[in-house]
């Protein structure tokens, strides 16, 4: 809620300043003509707002591929956002150094939060759903992330260094392709690399094969000599790192000031995206941008002075999550490309 009101304020400023005058939104400032076409603007901002969803969903996909369900995405994202905010406020050095450190801090803190889930689930044998909920409650908007932000005084001043769009040569001015492909910030480019790398890792590498074996049939994997618990630990923590990085996107690229719960439930949408994307990186990318479009549609329309109820526009991403989830979970989709067979179930060697 708080995040969305802040976004509305950004949109109002945008509307006053005229089209495409903000550095936060990837709107081509010089392309003019074709590039300020409404459709192009919507697509470009879909990629922008879809980036944190993509990062978080890729992380959750890695975790779930190992058979661990982590419902703590929202909490991990918020912890990552806290870490990024604090680092950006306090680290020294040039702008790029600070932003890089902020992203690394977010990865580490997100990974640590996920490690708590891993310990609870894999070592203490807590039920995965309950443990994930506990992580989100502990770290979430009313919990540790809020406490840390208040104790570290994050909300008093905007962060000084942010992720700015990198213009690749003069390519950003190209019609159509410019704003869509060459006018984004580092994390967006990184997320594209990640989609390719994760696809290769899952389907073309030996370790990826082992990972999928652990997620599909841990007993078989164990018999093959794969360390099930270790694989699950590693991928749960790696998934948390990506969720933390996704959380960092909010302060570093969208709203440069801390507010409690600034991710606004996007962690839960990321969870839905993994189902939507059938646990495949390339499909998750498509889904993330679809949801990014719903997240940004309100801003884009308001920036153009279209009169639509704020609450209705705010509701769109959540409403669409339900609608899409219903489609995905019925019949035809379920038969193909399902979830890892062992998802959500513990593996105890003694209980075989």
């Amino acid at each position: 809620m708080i995040a969305s009101t802040a976004l509305v304020q950004v949109a109002t400023v945008l509307a006053q300043a005229g089209d495409g005058a903000s550095s936060a939104l990837p709107v081509a400032s010089t392309g003019g003509g074709v590039n300020s076409n409404l459709l192009i603007v919507i697509f470009a901002s879909a990629i922008f707002y879809g980036t944190p969803l993509l990062l978080a969903a890729l992380g959750e996909m890695l975790t779930e591929r190992s058979g661990v369900l982590n419902l703590g995405v929202e909490g991990m994202m918020l912890m990552g956002a806290v870490a990024a905010c604090w680092t950006s406020l306090h680290a020294g050095g040039s702008g790029w150094m600070v932003v890089t450190q902020a992203m690394l801090a977010a990865v580490v803190v997100g990974g640590l939060t996920a490690a708590l889930h891993a310990v609870l689930v894999l070592t203490f044998r807590v039920e995965q759903i309950v443990s994930g909920l506990a992580i989100t409650i502990l770290a979430g908007a009313a919990g540790l992330s809020s406490y840390l932000a208040a104790s570290l005084d994050l909300a008093s001043s905007p962060i000084p260094h942010r992720l700015e769009p990198i213009h690749v040569g003069g390519l950003a001015d190209l019609p159509v392709a410019g704003p869509l492909l060459f006018d984004h910030n580092l994390l967006t480019y990184l997320s594209w690399v990640l989609v390719a790398v994760l696809w290769w890792y899952l389907f073309r590498s030996r370790r990826g094969l082992h990972l999928r074996a652990v997620g599909e049939s841990p007993a078989t994997a164990d018999a093959m000599g794969i360390d099930v618990v270790r694989t699950r630990y590693v991928h749960t923590i790696a998934g948390g790192g990506l969720a933390g990085l996704a959380g960092a996107f909010y302060p570093l690229a969208i709203i440069p000031l801390w507010s409690d719960g600034l991710t606004g439930g996007r962690g839960w949408i990321a969870l839905a995206l993994v189902i939507f994307g059938f646990w495949r990186p390339e499909l998750i990318l498509v889904g993330a941008y679809l949801f990014g479009a719903f997240s940004s549609l309100g801003l884009t329309l308001q920036a153009r002075n279209v009169e639509v109820s704020t609450q209705l526009l705010d509701s769109l991403p959540y409403l669409m999550t339900i609608v899409v989830l219903v489609f995905v979970s019925t019949g035809w989709a379920r038969r193909r490309l399902g979830a890892p067979a062992a998802l959500g179930t513990p593996y105890e060697r003694e209980a075989r």
């Binding site: 419902l71 609870l120 609450q311 513990p346 209980a351």
Partner: protein, 376 residues
């Protein structure tokens, strides 16, 4: 090398020692967190006890803070018992508040004896309908209820915000300052729920309703056919199907029941506490998520939910009273989360015997007793 052996039966002392130990660990970790942020942990805890329970008028405020948690706790416990993860207590409570305040506003001029029950029914019905959306999707279309109930939370708060801030609906105060600064329209004074004065403290009508609901749920789960069915479906869905139980209908009924209980919490919020629809306060309160903590700490036992909700209410009340620079808002949520995490982890010691395995003992197979093979 440490080895875990599943306990065949739990000794009695463990079922007391483990939760107490978990709480102690949670308080210890909480103290470290508080100390790390530069505050005095012992002083913070003693202030929580003082403002939550022992100081003048604190217990009344604690019961007021406990009431919504009692309802959302019962709602979560009801659904979780069958392995249905209703994370939507938050939204169901908000929609319940919309229904109850709507009923109160529409029935202006009628006798309170009609209006108050109508507000309760409207709250419960709206909560049930809101949960019913997720229930129908889960039962017939197999859609994951965790995500749908959660998304419905955001839709519920947007709905309530729209009614008060985004439109000129019945729920909005359109007279005087309400025109300039949008706020909810108050229900008639006669419809405010009564409360009972016990001398040292007062108990609101809503809290009594909550206790009645807890007892009713306890009895329903223990000694009715419905309760039995939910247990079988939760534990062994295939066995339930072979026994001819109507799984889909039971899921719908159970989630609707869970939503109705949360909706009653919304009615109590309007009737007992705020007397109007206050989307901002409801959106920030986080009653639904705290209810999950309450249900988990009470081990899904409806009667235990009453006690745990009072403890958590005390914590929440103290948090509100003490909120300031040296007592940030997130501290209460952090302590709740730590209690939850430690209690969950502590379960290990109740369920397993921990043995140090000698050299070469890593291959010892431990026979699990029949029926104890699957976790959870």
């Amino acid at each position: 090398m440490i080895r875990l052996e599943r306990r065949v039966d739990q000794p009695r002392w463990l079922s007391l020692a483990v939760p107490l130990g978990s709480i102690a660990v949670a308080l210890l970790v909480g103290a470290v967190v508080v100390a790390l942020s530069g505050n005095d942990a012992i002083a913070t805890y003693s202030r929580i006890v003082d403002r939550g329970f022992t100081s003048r008028g604190a217990f009344t405020a604690t019961l007021t803070a406990a009431t919504p948690l009692l309802f959302t706790g019962l709602a979560a416990a009801t659904a979780f018992r069958m392995g249905i993860f209703n994370i939507g207590g938050e939204g169901q409570l908000i929609v319940g508040a919309v229904g109850a305040s709507g009923a109160g506003i529409v029935l202006d001029g009628r006798p309170a004896a009609l209006a108050i029950p109508a507000m309760l029914v409207a709250g419960a019905a709206c909560g049930a309908a809101w949960a019913g959306i997720a229930a129908v999707l889960r039962a017939w279309l197999n859609t994951n209820e965790i995500i749908t109930t959660l998304m419905l939370n955001y839709l519920a708060i947007n709905l309530a915000t729209y009614l008060v801030f985004g439109s000129k609906s019945r729920w909005r105060d359109l007279e005087g300052s309400g025109l300039m600064f949008p706020k909810g329209k108050a229900i008639p004074e006669a419809f405010e729920f009564p409360s009972v004065d016990f001398g040292n403290f007062t108990v609101s009508f809503g809290f009594f309703i909550g206790i009645a609901a807890a007892i009713a749920l306890y009895v329903a789960f223990r000694s009715t056919r419905f309760g039995f069915q939910t247990r079988v479906i939760g534990d062994e869905p295939r066995a339930a199907a072979y026994a001819g139980m109507r799984t889909k209908r039971t899921i719908l009924a159970l989630l609707a029941l869970s939503g109705a209980v949360a909706g009653l919490g919304g009615a109590s919020d309007v009737g007992d506490t705020r007397h109007l629809l206050d989307p901002k306060a409801l959106g920030q309160a986080g009653y639904g998520y705290a209810g999950i903590v309450v249900a988990a700490l009470a081990r899904l036992n409806p009667l235990a939910v009453v006690g745990v909700s009072i403890l958590m209410g005390g914590l929440a009340n103290a948090g509100r009273a003490l909120q300031g620079p040296d007592f940030p808002a997130g501290l209460v949520g952090t302590l709740q989360g730590l209690l939850l995490v430690c209690t969950l982890a502590g379960e290990l010691f109740a369920r397993y015997r921990i043995r140090r395995a000698g050299a070469g003992a890593g291959v010892v197979a431990v026979a699990a007793p029949p029926g104890a093979g699957v976790q959870g």
